[in-house]
Symmetry: none
Subunit: 219 residues, 2 copies
């Protein structure tokens, strides 16, 4: 497998929700910042090698083999992220680019030993689960925002209350899924929170906080 093939497999895995649904050519092209024609070329090769199922004009679908390959790459990527954050004191937002290179190193022994050295971590520094040696994926652990303590950080990934009024509130205060949130402090009086969301600061009630799911950054 070349680096390029691995990058395509990984992109298709993410875009297809873990291989669940098929992915259009253009989606891959824009995700990878490349031309659709390049994607077509590569897909043909991956199809010949049976990593994907492909019908012209009908998008791509990962095969079993493709899914396993993707999981192995993601496992490497996330283990390296843990290494960088935990052992080399990288900031959690600096790890991705370097892990993107390290994930292509080919040595099964290396990755098993690294896993052991890190204490068999279950999650990477962004809170994403690390696939096991045989591809098992742990459930991602979510927290309610109200359950977080000062200085904890995470990504806003969902709402509990999906009422229109709640969604309106989020919209009005410019809170979107995917936003990076950090707890600044918690008022003892009413358990309301001062948070930093992306670059802005915001004060929110406990009521609101109990309705936002956060994917915590793991230390």
């Amino acid at each position: 497998m070349t680096h390029s093939e691995e990058n395509y497999i990984k992109a298709i895995y993410h875009l297809s929700g873990g291989g669940m649904h098929s992915v259009p050519t253009n989606a891959i092209a824009s995700q990878m910042e490349t031309q659709p024609s390049s994607v077509t070329d590569m897909i043909k090769k991956l199809s010949d090698k049976e990593y994907v199922l492909y019908k012209k004009y009908r998008g791509v679908h990962l095969s079993e083999k493709g899914i396993n390959t993707a999981l192995a790459i993601i496992r490497k990527h996330r283990l390296w992220e843990v290494f960088l954050a935990e052992k080399l004191d990288f900031n959690w937002d600096e790890v991705h680019d370097v892990a993107e290179q390290l994930e292509h190193i080919k040595s099964e022994k290396l990755i098993d030993k690294l896993d052991e050295f890190l204490g068999f971590p279950k999650y990477d520094p962004h809170g994403d689960p690390i696939p096991g040696k045989n591809g098992e994926l742990a459930q991602r652990s979510l927290k309610l925002l109200s359950a977080m303590r000062p200085d904890e950080e995470g990504i806003c990934v969902g709402v509990k209350d999906s009422s229109v009024s709640f969604l309106k509130f989020l919209d009005k205060h410019n809170i979107a899924l995917g936003d990076h949130i950090k707890i600044l402090d918690v008022e003892e009086f009413d358990e309301s929170l001062n948070i930093q969301i992306e670059s802005k600061q915001l004060h929110i009630s406990k009521r609101i906080a109990t309705n936002l799911f956060i994917k915590p950054k793991l230390v």
Copy 2:
């Protein structure tokens, strides 16, 4: 710099004794197990980029820029070897191939942090000195015979175990301090060595090899 360019620079560095003398095309080709014509092509490119000085039919010479680049790659290679051997319990003879891949990872921060994490080591697991951030090279240290690899050469300069029985053994097999030693090959089975000492050949156990200090012949 591509991986391939980096590999050529590194090969030229080693073959030229650290950039001291110039290197013929064919030497590079056989070291890299490639065709002389490929070498000529690559040398032209490296010459355009001013990593080497090149006169047709006259061999290649590393420029200052080329030497610094080579040292940076070797620094990465050897730091990764220390990491593999010391933190991940790789055997000293297993580290090379993986380090060969890791040396191409591009991130200055990564390598500085790794250096720090390892406690700023001066030598790699084979006893070769690790270039500093600015290219300083420590004096090459002594090696145990057991740490040497096929085709390496050096002078026998001391013993670790100075027991009478060990010295008797050396005497019996006509091994003396000052003798010139070359590793012919290493048995995978028990890590015993076939060596050439002066003009004779000899088979010795790993046990013996771990008790003889060798001053390696400089590159």
